[in-house]
């Protein structure tokens, strides 16, 4: 998590493409999970109906988000919890650090949470002298290795077992203990190390997959049991949730618990799903806090077309089907949100000036839209954001792309201009430049693409000829 300045997708992707191990591991992971997902989705006859319900529930929620957040706040409070509001990451981090300090704790145990990664939670805690321990196996590998996530679901997939063995030998093994590279042995070492933390650290921090406005219920899905540990054993529990995680009703969970595991890990159901509301006497934490995080989300909401980006339930299905992600891996996106969803979410959260190359990190093949369990039309949002990038450039200077689009607008504005432009384009051949290139500055476009051959006759010419009795085609 040491990146401070963005390289932009093309440069970052070049780095990633040179890393053959990363490419091999990502390729294997995406293919394996893709096949598992396809098999469990195939066995449901009502998958499309579930997707449509998921999309519609999200639309309903987002269009009425203020009311649902108020309802959630009231329900959590009624259940004995406390709700905090955080405009940005710094505010959220300060709230959690304050809670830990109020309980005299210099340690926090943490469930894997993308929201916390987004706000650089661990670094913020370290700066206040608080150690935040990652408890998900992959996140532990990332944390111990001072590394960065490469996939939403399996963040350490770019590391092989020999590297993990070496890391655990150096950081977790007892003196004289020899660690093998068997995955089961490595998991056992992590289990022993973290069990001590689970039993002693008084403050747990989690993210949320869903927050139910009606009942104040928080839902966390996971596989390893570290989520259950962190949300059950500590005296104090803090959940950091993006404001878009709210669902209207308890019954709405049935849709998302059908969509998420099948889309994410390719399982009918993930091993553990924890649901709780506030505090329960004699069972679990004595104190519960919910931190509602904006951090750019209200800006995403303000664009009524790109708003659907907030439907995302972080399943990572779009990563696994994306031909671009499959080749570059997650690091090239320079964000905790990689892949197609990252290409639309990150630029909206951090701004197009920061991440304006990401909407171009796609071939617009549409596979992401097909698998998205909440039907986010990622290709259309990408195109929409590209339009915004171009509009921004127009404000700044005369860019070749802007010039090209302006010329196109001029040429298409009347029939006469259009037909003359078509004739002119055939001159390309006469000029002897041949197929596949155009003069600068437009050659920047054909540097990476073949220019289609210009037909000898336009449709209009053919149509007119046909009316005169010598149509040909």
């Amino acid at each position: 998590m040491s990146r401070t300045e963005r390289l932009g997708f093309p440069a970052a992707a070049r780095e990633a493409l040179a890393d053959t191990q990363l490419r091999r591991n990502i390729g294997k992971a995406t293919q394996t999970i893709r096949a598992k997902r396809a098999a469990v989705v195939e066995e449901l006859d009502d998958w499309e109906e579930l997707r449509e319900a998921g999309r519609a529930i999200k639309e309903r929620t987002l269009r009425h988000l203020p009311a649902y957040l108020e309802q959630l706040e009231a329900s959590v409070t009624a259940a004995g919890g406390r709700v905090h509001w955080a405009r940005d990451g710094a505010e959220a981090n300060a709230i959690v650090a304050g809670i830990a300090e109020a309980h005299d704790s210099r340690e926090i145990i943490k469930v894997k949470s993308l929201a916390s990664d987004e706000i650089k939670f661990n670094e913020a805690m370290a700066a206040r002298g608080i150690s935040a321990w990652e408890t998900d196996l992959a996140e532990l590998i990332i944390q111990l290795g001072d590394d960065e996530q490469s996939h939403i679901l399996v963040p350490a997939i770019h590391r092989n077992r020999a590297e993990i063995r070496e890391l655990f030998q150096r950081t977790l093994a007892a003196e004289g203990e020899q660690v093998t590279d068997e995955p089961a042995a490595l998991a056992e070492l992590a289990r022993k190390h973290l069990r001590r933390k689970f039993l002693s650290v008084p403050v747990g921090v989690s993210g949320a997959n869903f927050c139910v406005a009606e009942t104040g219920t928080i839902c966390v899905v996971e596989s390893e049991g570290n989520g259950r540990m962190c949300t059950t054993l500590p005296r104090v529990l803090v959940t950091i949730a993006g404001i878009e995680k709210v669902l209207p009703t308890w019954g709405d969970l049935e849709v998302f618990l059908a969509l998420l595991p099948r889309s994410s890990t390719g399982e009918r159901m993930n091993p553990y799903t924890s649901l709780w509301s506030g505090v329960t006497e004699g069972d679990g934490p004595e104190e519960f806090h919910l931190v509602l995080l904006d951090n750019g989300r209200s800006d995403v909401l303000a664009d009524d077309f790109a708003r659907q980006t907030l439907n995302c339930i972080r399943c990572s299905a779009c990563l696994n089907v994306c031909p671009v992600y499959e080749r570059t891996g997650g690091h090239a996106y320079e964000s905790v949100y990689p892949g197609p969803i990252g290409a639309i979410l990150t630029p909206q959260l951090v701004g197009l000036d920061e991440a304006g190359t990401l909407p171009y990190a796609s071939s617009l093949c549409g596979a992401c839209y097909e698998v998205c369990p909440v039907k986010i039309d990622i290709p259309s949002v990408l195109v929409h954001l590209r339009g915004k990038v171009v509009a921004k450039k127009r404000e700044k200077r005369l860019d070749p792309e802007v010039a090209a689009l302006k010329t196109a607008a001029f040429a298409f504005s009347t029939r006469g201009r259009y037909e003359r432009a078509q004739k002119l384009s055939r001159g390309q051949k006469v000029l002897g430049r041949g197929r596949g290139s155009v003069p600068p500055p437009l050659s920047a476009w054909t540097g990476a693409r073949d220019l289609p051959e210009v037909p000898t006759q336009t449709f209009r010419e053919w149509w007119r000829g046909r009316a005169n009795g010598h149509g040909g085609g």
């Binding site: 992971a29 929620t61 108020e70 196996l137 992959a138 350490a156 618990l257 649901l275 904006d294």
Partner: protein, 211 residues
């Protein structure tokens, strides 16, 4: 942080300027044409439940009646070398296996739970479609910590508790109480996508289906 809430609410309301003020949440249509129940005979539903729980590499025992249950549980304890068994307070007397040290969960500490070899609970329901058991905080399922810290979880489910779908489950459990859905033992695929059972939760799950 005074002001954060008001400022966030203000931003959100401004962001939703395109939503007509008279629109209510229910004006945004949600079509629920998905299947909310499983259409199949009870025997098939039970078979599907047993098969799908087992596919997660949990062990499923079909037990003919309550009289055989204590014996089946006792055998499982023997097989796993269980000497101390935590038992949820509401577990019926006649389920308790002989030959093990039964620890009634009155108020066991986390350290005591961690030191126990296994735990015996009932559950709130099961879901055939997904091979899931649902625990609901209370006498039969126990509080959450008891089914989490011991390394072996023995869970008894009665045939009438086996439902078809997640939708039916949410109609049955009480909103507000802690609920844990369990589909197989703790697992990870974080190292080269190799599945390993048991990272933090119980490494072994045995389900006893009481017909």
């Amino acid at each position: 942080m005074p002001g954060a809430r008001e400022e966030m609410m203000g931003r959100l309301r401004a962001a939703l300027g395109d939503v007509p003020p008279e629109e209510t949440p229910l004006d945004v249509a949600v079509t629920r044409d998905y299947d909310r129940a499983l259409d199949m005979p009870v025997s098939d539903r039970l078979a599907m439940f047993a098969e799908r729980v087992a596919e997660y590499r949990a062990t499923v025992h079909r037990v003919a009646g309550p009289s055989e249950l204590a014996d089946a549980l006792g055998e499982a304890c023997e097989r796993h070398g269980v000497r101390s068994l935590v038992v949820a307070v509401g577990v019926p007397e006649d389920w308790r296996p002989a030959g093990v040290d039964v620890l009634d969960d009155s108020a066991l500490t986390h350290a005591e739970l961690d030191a126990a070899d296994g735990v015996l609970t009932g559950c709130a329901a099961g879901i055939a479609l997904t091979g899931t058991i649902a625990l609901e905080s209370g006498p039969l399922s126990g509080r959450r910590a008891i089914s989490l810290l011991p390394d072996l979880h023995l869970c008894v489910i009665e045939a009438e508790q086996v439902l078809g779908t997640v939708s039916e489950l949410f109609e049955r459990v009480t909103p507000g109480l802690p609920v844990t859905l369990i589909s197989g033992p703790s697992a990870t695929s974080d190292i080269e996508l190799n599945r390993v059972e048991g990272v933090h939760g119980p490494r072994r799950l045995e389900v006893f289906l009481l017909d």
